[in-house]
Amino acid sequence: MDFLNTHLLSLILFLPTIAALIMLFLPSGETKLLRWFAFSASLIPFALTLVLWSNFDPDMTGFQFQEQYMWYEAIHSTLHLGVDGISISMVLLTTLLTPLAILASFSITDRVKPYMMLFLFLETGMLGVFMALDLLIFFVFWEIGLIPMYFLINQWGSANKDYASMKFMMYTMGGSLGLLLAVQMLGVLFGTYDLVALYERWNSLDPGSILLGLPVHTVKTIAFWAFTIAFAVKVPIWPFHTWLPDAHTEAPTAGSMILAGVLLKLGAYGFLRLVLPFYPLEAKIFAGALALLATAAIVFGAFGSFGQTDFKRLVAYSSVNHMGFVVLGIAAAGLAAGTADAHIAMNGAVLQMFNHGLSAAGMFFLVGVIYERTHTRNLEEFGGLFPLVPVYGGILIFMSMASLGLPGLNGFVSEFLVVRGAYPVLKIYTVVSMLGLLFTGAYILKGIAKVLHGPMNEYWARGEHKLTEINTREILVVVPLMILILIIGIWPAWILEVINKAVVALF
């Protein structure tokens, strides 16, 4: 038991990789075995995360469950892991969504073994980012996660997968280039990559001194934008978002679930863990610019979504729209750092990350369910399907309402907090994004109306095309999401408590 307690984070982090390596030796023909193995293997990190959550003490400031191992001695980088209230909620999200995504992938029949292995590798990559307390380790996992996702899109995606996967790769790598250089610079300047040490030393630099032949504030401004662009691409913030609709649309269903559910959060998490603590001053100066981009993402994301005829693209643009609120909250928190408004906005942003993870994963899954049956995502070819698939219809409406921000479901809580926190400091942007929220309602209702209501497309009613109801496995995927959505909507305190303490301590 002692070993478990002291190595909890590294167990959660590396168990998926170990499972993937074990899978290497399983026969590739036994698809059933491979699926169940991957699924049960991904449940272990989830169970351990529950242990982690129950042992987590929200009242303690700083990072908990810390572990530190020497990794790259020559450049003073250690495998330093630890979680606080923000990262533990992201870890929970990741370990929860991975088994669900794997369960959702049971319908994959083509090369099951590499597919499942890539998923498990991906889980390690994502978890590593959330747990890292070392800048280099953060970057390592940040980049590692790209590779499995690239191959998942490139190998198991739909028609335009080559273009989409390449675009995903190039955008993210290109965006990370500035991050890479800034990370190197920090390492050279301070001789350590440990985040806690870096926070202190980077912020205690004399503002008047000269670094690399430039004044400190210039260096910091450049480094701020290097970090910001890397994370802005991943979130994604308008105008860096164009990879997202392509990648989401072409990815296999479970890939989209993880992409929208967790990968986008990596970018937002980067803002929280690195940008705000490293650049409090710059975050204040450029909060307006960030808020402008966030508002643009909210409004244009909603418009973009409304204009789609492809169901999956509609959901993809909705991610741009929803992640805009996260960034708006971050911008507000940067501007008003230290005040109650900042804490409210930041609470909202973190909760919005969690909530969007649940609802976006659910939405993409539901799109996948209908796509698997009809082999089309074109909204014009659906219509009036509610009587054919009443259970599916009900779930879809529930999920859509969560996405729309219906009070009583989770999206409302977090978006309200963001708007409440941002309004006093960023009035105009908040008002404009509220107007954007109207269009959120519009595109979601449009999606429901086109699929479920209106005159029934008789093509799906009979014969071999007859639309079948959502099956038990698929319900099992979506029910945990629905339960959490409802719980957070009605009683958000259990998670906000954990998030809030960390937020207050940090910002």
Binding site: M70, A74, F139, E143, M173, L180, Q184
Partner: protein, 506 residues
């Protein structure tokens, strides 16, 4: 008297070459058996040497052996390895072993395809081993004359290997170009080395080619300023430094697979290693004064090589130019003259050696079966040879500097070293990361995942078991170093400390 492990490693390939030449030419299996056994022994010995050095926590020059050769002129056969050269000895062992494996020669009955070396394997392996012995000799020599001696021994068989077993369309041109470039480069270096030898005699009254002695020969800074460039660049030609790189891709393309592996994997390291050992370590003042120029040339090589690789339609040219880019990183690391940069350069030499050997091995496997290297004409290899595909992807990730693989471990300190000197160069050179990622991903997709062209259907079969062993062996090193940098980096650091001492502290 200790066990003379370095002499055995170095001379074993020469002995094996003679033994093979005495076997009748038609007994190909015996020849191959001798080759493989020799390569395996050399790999084991060099691995044992490496582990001894690493686990023994050794520093400085170890396993020193000295034999008089020509005492009147101060020439002795002096061998020894330090933290910089021990990984390169291991690298040579790996490339030699895998090179023999993939050259084994195999006839696929079902697809009527022959792979590996079918034509005169006896002579092929004999020349290849001469080359390997020469390479080992350079890495372990502590005597400047011997270093040169082995250097020339290594270059000479390249000509024959390329001209006889090479790609028929360009082999004569490429072999000639390569030989001329390298000989001109080495003549320039030789002139510098002889001047160093005589100047040392004038300064100290000692006639000696011993490099350890030459470290304290007291060359004046004017002398170093004048002679650093010829010596460094003369060797660096073999390291493929821009703008003297263009023999290299031609040579790669024309060479048979195992020779390309040697050429890119080990021979180019020879140039960088000799430039470091003789240029930087013996003329440290000159190095300091000229490092800006080396840095400029290297950063151009890094970006230019990547860009040219990006536009190549020929798989082998693509890898050839990517080698120019990656060797540019080695040179960039050397030019920083600081602890992190040099450490990165040392690791990059090993990492790139293994990676490019893997690339050329897989390219050779594909070419042997499909008879084309034109990327647009290839496709669908992923289904036919999944093992080769995984190897190529891993190599590609190393090439991109993806964390978790050895390329990242090597490139990151190089860039950190450059930050310590001139941050603009780091920013400029980082462009290559994106270009590399782009061409690697595009080519992986085209060669392995696009549909199999019709003219290749039914003619292309899977790779052999020996090929798979070679791929696993090469991938093993890249992953282990990537995950656990401490298996190599501390060792390289001890070598770098010695260089830093000569450069006058950190």
């Amino acid at each position: 008297m200790n066990f003379p492990i370095l002499s055995i490693i170095t001379f074993l390939p020469f002995v094996a070459a003679v033994v093979m030449l005495m076997i009748p030419a038609d007994r190909k299996t015996e020849v191959r058996g001798v080759a493989l056994a020799t390569a395996a022994i050399d790999l084991l010995l060099s691995g044992w040497l490496y582990l001894q050095y690493l686990l023994g926590g050794m520093t400085g020059y170890q396993f020193i052996e000295t034999y008089n050769w020509l005492p009147a002129l101060g020439i002795s056969l002096k061998f020894g390895v330090d933290g910089m050269s021990a990984p390169l000895v291991l690298l040579t062992g790996i490339v030699m072993f895998t090179g023999v494996l993939i050259s084994w020669g195999d006839y696929d009955e079902k697809h009527h395809v022959s792979a590996g070396i079918q034509d005169r394997p006896r002579e092929f392996f004999a020349f290849l081993f001469l080359l390997a012995g020469g390479v080992f000799g350079v890495f372990v020599s502590l005597d400047l004359f011997m270093l040169f001696f082995f250097y020339e021994i290594a270059v000479f068989p390249m000509y024959l290997l390329i001209a006889i077993w090479g790609w028929i369309k360009t082999r004569e041109y490429a072999a000639m170009k390569l030989t001329l470039y390298l000989f001109i480069g080495s003549v320039v270096s030789l002139a510098g080395v002889l001047v160093m030898y005589w100047t040392q005699y004038q300064n100290t009254g000692v006639l000696s080619f011993d490099m350890l002695q030459m470290e304290s020969a007291g060359f004046s800074s004017t002398f170093q300023y004048i002679w650093f460039l010829p010596v460094f660049l003369g060797f660096a030609v073999l390291g493929g430094i821009w703008p003297f790189h263009n023999w290299s891709p031609d040579g790669h393309v024309a060479a048979p697979t195992a020779v390309s592996m040697f050429h890119a994997g080990v021979l180019m390291k020879l140039g960088a290693f000799a430039a470091l050992r003789v240029g930087v370590m013996l003329l440290p003042e000159g190095a300091k004064q000229w490092s800006w120029l080396i840095m400029a040339l290297a950063s151009i090589a890094v970006v230019y090589g990547a860009y040219i690789a990006f536009v190549q339609p020929d798989l082998k040219y693509m890898i050839g130019f990517s080698s120019v880019s990656h060797m540019g990183l080695v040179m960039l690391g050397i030019s920083t003259l600081n602890q992190t940069g040099l450490t990165g350069a040392g690791v990059q030499m090993f990492s790139h050696g293994v990676m490019t050997a893997l690339f050329f091995a897989i390219t050779g496997m594909i070419y042997d079966r499909s008879h084309t290297r034109q990327i647009p004409e290839l496709g669908g290899m992923g289904k036919i040879m999944p093992f080769a595909m995984i190897g190529f992807i891993i190599g590609g990730l190393v090439s991109m500097g993806m964390p978790g693989f050895s390329g990242f471990i090597a490139e990151f300190p190089i860039f950190m070293g450059v930050w310590g000197r001139q941050w603009l160069v780091a920013v400029f050179a980082s462009i290559s990361i994106i270009i590399t990622a782009a061409y690697i991903m595009i080519n992986i997709r085209k060669v392995f995942f696009s549909p199999l062209p019709e003219n290749l259907q039914g003619h292309v079969g899977d790779i052999t078991v020996l090929d798979k062993v070679a791929i696993v062996a090469l991938c093993f090193f890249m992953i282990v170093i990537g995950l656990f940098p401490s298996v190599m980096v501390p060792m390289v650091e001890t070598g770098v400390e010695n260089i830093m001492r000569l450069l006058g502290g950190a």
